[in-house]
């Protein structure tokens, strides 16, 4: 009986804080992420699956620190950066965040457009509708109701797992290449290395740190509930990694096997899957793309608005009304309207905007990660919840690798 009761209260504790970590990790598999995983599978088959485990570990470490900071201090990341590093650093950081997130938002709406064009629906109908839905969900919802919508959207990622199963992969080969050390010969291939950089870069992004910490705070998670919250982060990252694994596997088992290496986007991947994996796999892949794009399009503008308003000391929060937090809602609205708008402008250089935003993303990430590590080791702020020594070693190692990889990506992209 006590066992049952203990188990039940523990479950209730977990359910009470589940959400922020799970949602953040899943949004990570957005339009850009799905494209990257598809291309990785199509070009290199199962040979890149080994990256999934280290990338997941890095994701967990980075996310856990933000979640812990949110629970201990009860303040958002940009709040803390403002208080510890001043207005100017915050302002520049926020400007960069708006630029890079704007590029991401545009690419999410592009994902929405291309997923519906697979079904023959014009983007001039879908994109404005999607923008209106995104805007309304957040502006008219409360934190609790929005979280439920987002959690349901996270569950929809199962699409990709089913689609991966329908692709009839070689399970044994896939499993083996996930856990075995990669062959060193691969690293001499420029394309292979730049793909690894792409995978890592698409998985750990600056907006996640801001979004996760802000939603932990808004949910009111405290130090006492933190253990459950950490579980939320870990489970979220694991689920996101499994989904990513299945996307790679689906494309590897089909496109790579028949030598169709030259896809670039997620909708191309879906189209190429159709004759190989069947109608259902194709439909699920396309529906998954739509869900992921729309989901991320909901989160990115809100995360940006949160971070910027907190950092600059403007009223923010979904629980406030429009008149109480005008800057918050205006920024949010502008990001959606312009982000969706550019997708509809004919011959708009969207691709260049996305490349630029990736570069800014890459420049921003090291700063954000360094801020995170220095804040989390500030004992005046974190009390006894600073990183332990071994945790610091691991996180600096992770951050160091992430920084090296993103610099490599920025340089590669700069070369064109």
């Amino acid at each position: 009986m006590t066992f049952f009761k203990g188990w039940r209260t523990r479950l209730a504790l977990v359910l009470a804080v589940v959400g922020p970590g799970f949602i953040t990790a899943n949004v990570d598999n957005d339009a850009g992420g799905i494209a990257t995983y598809s291309v990785a599978g199509a070009q290199f088959g199962y040979t890149l699956l080994w990256t999934m485990i280290p990338i997941t570990v890095a994701l967990v470490i980075v996310q856990e620190m933000s979640a812990r900071m949110g629970a201990v201090t009860g303040k958002g990341l940009s709040d803390l950066i403002r208080e510890e590093f001043g207005l100017r650093a915050t302002f520049v950081l926020m400007l960069a965040l708006v630029v890079t997130n704007f590029g991401n938002i545009a690419s999410e709406f592009a994902g929405v457009a291309s997923s519906f064009e697979l079904f023959g629906v014009s983007r001039y109908i879908v994109v404005p509708l999607a923008a209106a839905v995104v805007w309304a969900i957040v502006v008219h919802g409360t934190y609790g109701s929005i979280e439920k919508v987002f959690l349901s959207a996270s569950a929809f990622y199962i699409c990709y797992i089913v689609s991966g199963v329908l692709a009839h992969p070689d399970w044994k080969a896939a499993a083996l290449s996930t856990v075995t050390r990669p062959e060193s010969a691969g690293f001499r291939n420029y394309g292979y290395v730049s793909m690894i950089v792409g995978l890592a870069g698409t998985t750990i992004a600056p907006w996640m740190q801001f979004y996760l910490q802000a939603s932990i705070v808004e949910k009111g998670v405290t130090v006492r509930q933190y253990k459950a919250s950490r579980l939320d982060v870990v489970i979220g990252c694991l689920f996101a990694a499994i989904v990513a694994w299945f996307i790679v596997v689906a494309c590897a088992a089909t496109l790579h096997t028949v030598g169709k290496y030259n896809i670039v986007t997620a909708d191309e991947a879906a189209l190429a899957l159709r004759p190989l994996a069947g109608e259902y796999a194709y439909l699920l892949f396309a529906a998954g793309l739509f869900n992921a794009s729309l989901f991320a399009a909901c989160i990115l503008p809100i995360s940006t608005a949160y971070a910027v308003c907190e950092g600059l000391g403007l009223e923010s929060g979904l629980d406030k009304r429009f008149e109480e937090a005008p800057a918050f809602y205006w920024l949010y609205t502008a990001l959606i309207v312009i982000g969706a708008g550019v997708v509809l402008v004919p011959r708009f250089p969207l691709f260049r905007i996305m490349v630029l935003s990736q570069v800014v993303n890459g420049i921003l990430l090291p700063f954000v990660l360094i801020f995170v590590i220095s804040l989390i080791n500030d004992s005046e702020l974190m009390g006894s919840h600073t990183n332990s020594r071994w945790y610091n070693v691991i996180s600096w190692f992770t951050v160091g690798i992430m920084i090296a990889l993103t610099i490599a990506m920025v340089i590669a992209q700069g070369r064109g």
Partner: protein, 412 residues
């Protein structure tokens, strides 16, 4: 008399009497123990360590600072807990704007410099929370200062006078030294205090509730979102929590303690005064959604043989909530409820009349009546208060209309 911004002073070159640049301003300190607004000294970083320069040794303070004496007369700086450092403690931090009743972030601090005889008097006058302060700081050193001044003059200021600023300091010892008592905050309406507190980080909420008067704290706590209520009470030490809970309406206190883990609510109950403890723990035993869970045990009851005069005396000594005063209950032998008199009737009847003469038959319900039925009774009989009686017909408590309104709002 002129205004100077903290951001202009920070980093400004400091010259000694001979006009030689000796260092730059690093910090500006106020010693609240001595004077609440006056600048005690500037901390100047020189080639020979950090020195303090009090305003009475200054000739001018602006984009450059001129001292009236030699550097050798500037004392060495030793850190002290008892001073407020404007850059560290104020700039970019959140404060409570007591006048605007919200939490805001400081973009800049405005000081007033007044020449008196041969020296200066520097005072903090306001904090800038608007665009003007932000733009001044962002463009400092990038835009030429005269262009900047012209630009800034066009931006309408958003400043909060210093007397309306309450600082958020989480370290209790430091709070005492800096004389931070949240006096301004405590004067606000409890509902406004509640809104402000909900916007703060947990450690800051704790700071406010450790500091303000127990009665005010109790009233504000009643207005706060139940989840936040719980986390605040959990963060306070048990003595302090008990002091605040004692001051709360017994029904609100019971709701709060009911939401806490049993172990903690037990500890708080243990620290409470016996009388309040008994009331609250009785309420705790009933379900929250019943008449007993909603009732308060603080009411006015007098014997039915008493006179109107006695009732007025009882009203004068009553310490419970104002809402409970709306009805005076009459008890007969064995404390049984026999009648009720609305407050209005007391006011218009002569003091020598016996209460039983003006008594009405009371509407009452049993302790286990579900709250939906309680609301129905209020509706049907147009009640302001409703008596709750135990199995022996004795008055156990009363429910007031304001409790019913919040009950109805929360059930939707």
């Amino acid at each position: 008399m002129s205004l100077v911004a903290l951001s202009e002073l920070l980093g400004a070159a400091v010259r000694d009497a001979s006009g030689t640049v000796r260092g730059r301003v690093r910090e500006i300190a106020v010693a609240p123990q001595d004077h609440p607004t006056r600048i005690a000294y500037l901390i100047v970083r020189t080639s020979d360590g950090e020195r303090v320069v009090p305003p009475d040794a200054l000739k001018s303070a602006g984009r450059s600072v001129r001292a009236a004496n030699e550097m050798s007369q500037w004392m060495r700086y030793t850190p002290s807990d008892g001073v407020l450092l404007l850059k560290r403690d104020l700039l970019d931090q959140q404060i409570i704007d007591v006048h605007g009743r919200k939490v805001v972030r400081v973009n800049d601090v405005e000081l007033e410099s007044t020449p008196i005889n041969a020296h200066l008097l520097l005072n903090v006058v306001s904090v800038d929370v608007g665009a003007r302060g932000a733009i001044r700081r962002l463009s400092k050193g990038i835009v030429p200062s005269f262009t900047l001044r012209a630009l800034l003059a066009r931006i309408p200021p958003r400043v909060i006078p210093w007397e309306y600023v309450d600082l958020l300091v989480t370290d209790p010892a430091r709070r005492v030294k800096l004389k931070i008592a949240y006096d301004g905050l405590a004067k606000l309406h409890p509902a406004d205090i509640a809104d402000i507190v909900e916007d703060l980080a947990p450690a800051e909420r704790e700071a406010v509730f450790e500091t303000i008067d127990e009665e005010v704290a109790a009233e504000a706590l009643e207005e706060i979102d139940p989840d936040i209520q719980v986390s605040i009470v959990e963060s306070l030490d048990k003595d302090r929590a008990a002091d605040i809970v004692e001051e709360m309406d017994p029904d609100a206190a019971a709701d709060l303690l009911g939401d806490l883990p049993e172990e903690q609510s037990g500890e708080i109950l243990k620290e409470m005064q016996p009388e309040e403890r008994q009331e609250v723990s009785q309420l705790l035993e009933f379900g929250e959604r019943t008449a007993a869970g909603r009732m308060t045990t603080e009411f006015v009851a007098v014997s039915d043989t008493a006179l109107v005069d006695h009732a007025i005396e009882a009203l004068k000594t009553f310490e419970g909530s104002r809402e409970a005063l709306a009805t005076i209950y009459l008890t007969g032998p064995g404390q049984k409820l026999v009648g009720s008199v609305p407050l209005v009737k007391i006011a218009i009847t002569s003091p020598a009349v016996q209460l039983s003469e003006i008594s009405e038959s009371p509407v009452s319900c049993a302790p286990d009546t579900p709250q939906s039925e309680v609301a129905a009774l209020f509706d049907k009989y147009n009640l302001i208060t409703l008596a709750v009686i135990d199995e022996h017909g004795r008055l156990a408590g009363i429910i007031t209309a304001d409790d019913v309104i919040s009950m109805l709002r929360h059930s939707h």
